[in-house]
Amino acid sequence: MSAPNPRRAFFAAAGAGVAGLGFTAIAPGLHLMAVGEANAAARPAGTAASPAIRWGLLIDATKCAPGCTKCIDACHEENGVSEQLPDPRQNSQWIRKIELVDRRNGRVTTLPMMCQHCAKPPCVDVCPTGASMKRADGIVLVDRHTCIGCRYCMMACPYKARSFVHTNLTEQSPETPRGKGCVESCTLCVHRVDKGQQPACVEKCPEGAMTFGDLNDPVSAISKRIAAANTTQVLSDLKLDLGVRYQGI
């Protein structure tokens, strides 16, 4: 799963270099308190996603176990990603494990990487049809009804987060429609979040390496952690204001 890629290692290192230089939301005076509380209650039927909320993830790379793929398996199961093509490079990849190796001392860090749910998403900027879109609560999605499969967004995404579906599908999950000819990426498990649940990868991580929550809410577990620890946005020099933050990289 984790093809060591020197370019990605460089990206992450570049991001780590400027950690804490102003792009992480620091709410001063808050202490790290009991964590692990569930996401907010399910949004009532008939109400729209609220711009007052900004959903985000905090991934603690110091807890992420090398070789573990539980988050990837959970994502595949939850979202019905099951096709295996003759050329594995064409398989959809909503989340992948990245291995960073410090060449000087051989220290290995692994972390899961998925759509970073940018507040200023380049994939949305370039889409010619308006299919690539950001929901009011910060979740970036592809509206497959209008996606023409041009793949501009795949080229624009600095995190290689998007995949193109190359084959006819029949095993989709009812809550995650997906099909040939469209681009897709991590939806932050939008169908679960709307029900008040956590994303599948967060729930299934045996190390508790991921925290999901509202970045706008200063008392949410994720905000408290970000306020207390030094966290990083990968490639933060791009100033895309990411919804996914990392710790320990």
């Binding site: 949004r43 039927a45 595949h76 199961e77 979202n79 999605l141 989709q172 999950s173 009812p174 709307d194």
Partner: protein, 130 residues
């Protein structure tokens, strides 16, 4: 003459007892779609409205659900599938009697929803086995 009158009366009686106004060709030469309604009487709107407008309703709903994030409204495709999937096959597709496919085949209208959406009710995706 008397025979003719008896015949005419019979014919009239036959017309009188035949069910409600008939469309041209009904019951005869024109084939009709054979769709099974599994759970009659529970639809989001009256049948006439559904027949004419279900595509518009779904199109509005898809934008409300996906773009605005509004959930739990009546015109949801998943709700249609859960109710209309065949009790035999579990799907709204499959053959000329399946709820969606049957009518679309009859009307010769391309059905695109299920290129992406799951046509089976209560389907549990397995994902990739590690």
């Amino acid at each position: 003459m008397k025979l003719l009158r008896i015949l005419a009366t019979l014919l009239f009686a036959a017309i009188a007892v035949s069910p409600a106004p008939t469309l041209a060709g009904e019951g005869g030469r024109t084939p009709k779609p054979v769709v099974t309604i599994e759970n009659p009487g529970k639809c989001a709107a009256p049948a006439e409205e559904m027949r004419r407008n279900h595509m518009e309703m779904l199109k509005h709903q898809r934008d409300r659900t996906l773009r605005a994030g509004i959930r739990g409204e009546p015109a949801s495709l998943n709700a249609c599938i859960e109710c209309h999937a065949s009790k035999k096959t579990g799907s709204v597709l499959g053959d000329g009697q399946a709820f969606c496919q049957g009518c679309h085949e009859y009307a010769s209208v391309k059905l695109d929803c299920f290129e992406c959406h799951q046509p089976k009710a209560k389907f549990k995706a397995a994902g990739l086995k590690p």
